[in-house]
């Protein structure tokens, strides 16, 4: 009997790890574009996620723009539609604030402008969190879909052990995978993607090759924002959230990106997936309140145990 419960718990943690982890993976791709590839330390990435959630919420329920789609399709279409909105927001942020402390302006400076980026994005994060409280209120909300209360039952697989597949998470999982694949193909095979990667890799050289680096950065930053926003919109279907929700996920995103290896889009996805697994499995032994604390411990372990050389400039040229 005990074994049955154990098997059931492990199997459910496994499926939850895959579904939730994939959405973390998508979120991490967003940060991976900004931090992993462009090397911009963006402290406000969690707030972009939060904006994605609220954008989706207002599209689906508030403005009722997408109400005609019904409660089954609406929330997921809403999540995808959140992307262009947050893309525009991200591009504007980059245009007016972030570009002043990154890219060509700071290339080759002592710390590549990281100090300025940390401070400016901390400011953006404070404004969005607290401004969000003013605009959205602090009562937790959710994008309602009947799917989040429904589950597929698989099994019994062993004795009475059953696997529950939450339908909302399952659909979110497929959407996340789809978006990740489309984005990967775009970056890998289109002219735009190549220009973005070139500009991010070496802004100075890209300029000489005739790439409009500022524009490329703006688009890449917008993309990173939009992708994270989709992940936010997807999560909004199965969690309740408020303006301060972004904070918990900043750490998850940085863990994923660092774990996956800087500068790799696929790596960021795998990193996020891994973090999702760790979180779900830690739920087997830890009380729910400590799950987030576990993520922080994992983050510290990742950053501390990976060899220094993988983190960019630690081994600097003398």
């Amino acid at each position: 009997m005990d074994l049955e419960i154990l098997i059931e718990n492990v199997l459910n943690a496994l499926t939850a790890g895959i579904t939730i982890g994939s959405i973390y993976g998508l979120m991490c791709i967003g940060l991976g574009l900004i931090f992993g590839i462009m090397r911009i330390v963006n402290f406000a990435q969690g707030e972009l996620l939060m904006l994605g959630m609220f954008a989706s919420l207002y599209l689906v329920t508030g403005g009722r723009v997408l109400a005609f789609l019904g409660p089954y399709w609406g929330p997921f279409i809403g999540a995808i539609c959140a992307a262009p909105i947050v893309f525009a927001g991200g591009a504007l942020l980059h245009r007016f604030l972030i570009s002043r402390v990154s890219g060509l302006r700071t290339a080759g400076s002592l710390d590549e402008g990281h100090f300025g980026q940390l401070i400016v994005t901390l400011g953006i994060s404070l404004i969005l969190q607290n401004g969000g409280q003013i605009v959205f209120g602090s009562t937790p909300v959710a994008v309602r879909t009947p799917l989040s209360a429904e589950a597929y039952l698989i099994g019994p697989v062993y004795g009475g052990a059953m696997v529950f597949l939450n339908k909302a998470k399952l659909v979110a999982f497929f959407v996340a995978i789809l978006v990740a694949i489309v984005l990967y193909l775009t970056l890998e095979y289109t002219r735009l993607g190549k220009a973005l990667r070139a500009a991010a890799d070496n802004p100075t050289a890209a300029t000489y090759m005739g790439i409009d680096v500022d524009r490329a950065y703006r688009i890449a930053f917008g993309l990173g924002s939009g992708i994270t926003a989709i992940a936010g919109g997807l999560m909004a279907t199965y969690i309740s959230f408020g303006p301060f929700v972004g904070f918990d996920y900043v750490i998850i995103m940085y863990s994923g990106v660092v774990l996956g290896g800087m500068g790799s889009i696929l790596g960021a996805f795998w990193g996020g997936l891994t973090v999702g697994f760790v979180q779900q499995f830690s739920a087997l032994i830890l009380p729910p309140q400590l799950q987030n604390a576990a993520i922080f411990v994992v983050f510290l372990m990742i950053v501390l145990l990976r060899p220094q050389g993988l983190f960019g400039r630690s081994a600097e040229r003398a």
Binding site: V41, F43, L97, R100, V101, L110, D111, H114, F115, G116, Q117, L118, I119, V120, L122, G123, I124, S125, L126, I127, L128, Q129, N130, G131, G132, Q133, I134, S138, P243, F247, V250, I251, Y254, V258, P287, Q289, L290, N292, A293, F296, V297, F299, L300, V303, L304, Q308, F311, R313, S314, A315, E316, R317, A318
Partner: protein, 588 residues
């Protein structure tokens, strides 16, 4: 205390005393209890800012998690009172001790990280503690009242008393900060912030100084937190460990002026009343307005005056007219002579040193030796492994194999600053200066690195500046120097530690013919004084005049060793490095 900073320190202490008295007197006339609370909170947040400034301002180790220490202080005082009836008079010092211990526990792993990784990791600590406290059920803890022994429990019906205590704590914090600023501690931190590798190569144990600054900073933050809890009478994890708390320290300091003791004070004096008033006036309609104000404030300051108000004001209206002259150190004695190595034994003996990067053998089984008083030139094409060899020798990189002995002592496997203390000075291919420090301070860093005390360090720095002919520029900021002067300053910094071996990496790079001759003259004089030098250089005509012997590296291997004339006629060296044109020109 460093030489020549006494007057400035006295001036700052006077300003501090005047400000504290004026502030306290003004506070005595305020009767509105809400304004009294604000008057108490300004020094508390200023103290928190001062603590952050020690680690992140002077030392440049950006911490986004200082709430960890603040919260530890707050919870120690509160829980101490709830469970053991511990008076805050004892609880605050206890919190300070725990804050210091937490600093050691946090710093030990986290200082392995640099830059933004350090900043992000620091963020994780207060949040992890926050969740643990919520799990343990300390969501909201109120302090019990002790009516009968009120004063013994820091409980006053008169809110002005809290303001006075807060001012007293801030004054103590500012004094500590001022003392740090004017001692070798502060100079070491500034050097680490501006160029950590250069500081290490000048003998500064950066890890230890960073740890000390974190401990001091953590203790001070815990005091601020402990007193804050006493003033507000109730703590929640979010109100003392939350992100907004960490941000508060960052914001007041950056806004007021980073790496200046007055910065956090100015920042808190402006931003705290502003945010509190807005919160009180508009908080019901616009909850979170405080955070928005802080966000706008730091973005604006970062874009408009990145170092903060204090520096902008100072640069605009109080810029120094004349650079400070050299401090009077009395007659400068010649450097103490090191006992010479036994005759017949080389000063430096390198044997089979190898270093690979992945599949690339950057340095491969390199062996050579340098006799005392000799100048050895290392030449070779780009990518031959010359700089890597230096990096291995002075501990920036670890060697995969081999040994290097300085006067019989093993150099490899030591940290950079330890190699420096063995008597190895180093300059860099790209000059690594501390651009915002005066030339004299740049050089003193090298003397402190060698373990000299304040007076001796200054004397040694003055001597080194005279040796390279930079005495007249000693008061200028290093950022204002010409390339040649920077090269000489870096040389002086290496000399100030009284080394027995100098590793010079392309000291002549980027210099014109005449400038080159000036630097060569300095080097020749050093040789005449008995200095041993190992120099990497591409300028062959200069090397022919300077070096006693050459080692030629190619693809990480020693291609040839010998007297200059023999080397330039060696067919393999001409093939690999000098080229046929060189040969043709020599024969004309």
């Amino acid at each position: 205390m460093r030489l020549g900073v006494g007057a400035q320190l006295r001036r700052n202490l006077t300003i501090l005393a005047v400000l504290a008295v004026v502030y306290s007197v003004v506070a005595m006339f305020v009767t509105n209890s809400y304004y009294q609370l604000i008057l108490t909170l300004v020094p508390v947040w200023a103290l928190f800012g001062v603590s952050w400034n020690i680690l992140s301002g002077y030392g440049g180790q950006l911490s986004f998690g200082h709430a960890a220490f603040f919260g530890i202080g707050a919870y120690t005082v509160t829980l101490g009172m709830v469970y053991w009836s511990l008076s805050p008079w004892l609880g605050i010092p206890l919190g300070m001790v725990i804050g210091g211990l937490a600093a050691v526990a946090i710093g030990t792993p986290t200082f392995r990280l640099r830059g933004h990784y350090f900043a992000l990791s620091m963020l994780a600590y207060p949040l992890a503690i926050l969740y643990v406290l919520q799990y343990l059920g300390f969501q909201e803890v109120s302090m019990p009242m002790h009516r009968e022994h009120a004063a013994a429990f820091m409980e006053f019906s008169q809110p002005r008393v809290y303001t006075l205590i807060a001012v007293g704590l801030l004054v103590a914090g500012v004094v500590i900060s001022l003392v740090i600023e004017s001692s070798r501690f502060g100079l070491a931190l500034l050097a680490i912030r501006q160029n950590e590798l250069a500081a290490e190569a000048a003998g500064i144990n950066s890890r230890r100084w960073k740890m000390r600054s974190l401990v001091v900073s953590g203790m001070m933050a815990a005091v601020a937190g402990g007193f804050y809890a006493r003033v507000l009478l109730v703590v929640t994890p979010d109100s003392v460990f939350g992100m907004l708390v960490s941000a508060q320290a960052v914001v007041v300091t950056l806004f007021g002026g980073v790496a200046s003791v007055w910065g956090p004070v100015i920042g808190a004096a402006i931003l705290v009343p502003l945010a509190e008033t807005l919160q009180a006036e508009l908080g019901t309609y616009l909850p979170g307005i405080q955070g928005v104000v802080y966000g706008v404030a730091i973005i604006a300051i970062m874009l408009l005056s990145p170092d903060g108000l204090f520096w902008t004001i100072r640069d605009r209206w109080f810029a120094h007219k004349t650079p400070a002259p050299l401090p009077d150190v009395g007659p400068v004695s010649p450097p103490p002579r090191r006992t010479p190595v036994r005759t017949g034994m080389p000063l430096l003996e390198v044997e089979n040193v190898s270093r690979t990067f992945g599949g690339l053998k950057a340095v491969s089984e390199v062996s050579f030796s340098i006799a005392e008083g000799e100048i050895l030139g290392i030449i070779g094409p780009n990518g031959a492994g010359k700089t890597t060899l230096f990096n291995v020798l002075n501990g920036v990189l670890s060697a995969d194999a081999g040994s290097a002995r300085l006067a019989g002592q093993q150099m490899l496997g030591r940290k950079t600053f330890e190699v420096c203390r063995m008597g190895v000075g180093r300059t860099f291919q790209v000059v690594r200066s501390f651009p915002r420090l005066p030339v004299l301070d740049n050089v003193i860093v090298g003397a402190y690195g060698a373990g000299l005390a304040d007076r001796a360090a200054t004397a040694s720095a003055v001597r080194a500046l005279r040796q390279v002919g930079l005495a007249d520029q000693s008061g200028m900021a290093a950022g204002q120097l010409t390339n040649k002067q920077l090269r000489l300053m870096e040389l002086a910094r290496a000399l100030a530690g009284n080394p027995r071996l100098l590793l010079l990496d392309e000291t002549l790079a980027g210099l014109g013919r005449e400038e080159c001759d000036d630097v060569l003259a300095v080097l020749a004089r050093l040789r005449d004084e008995g200095m041993t030098i190992c120099i990497i250089e591409h300028t062959m005509h200069a090397m022919m005049r300077l070096a006693d012997r050459f080692v030629v590296l190619d693809h990480g291997r020693v291609l040839a060793t010998g007297l200059p004339r023999a080397i330039v006629e060696d067919a393999s060296v001409i093939e690999a490095y000098l080229g046929k044109k060189w040969l043709a020109r020599q024969n004309v």
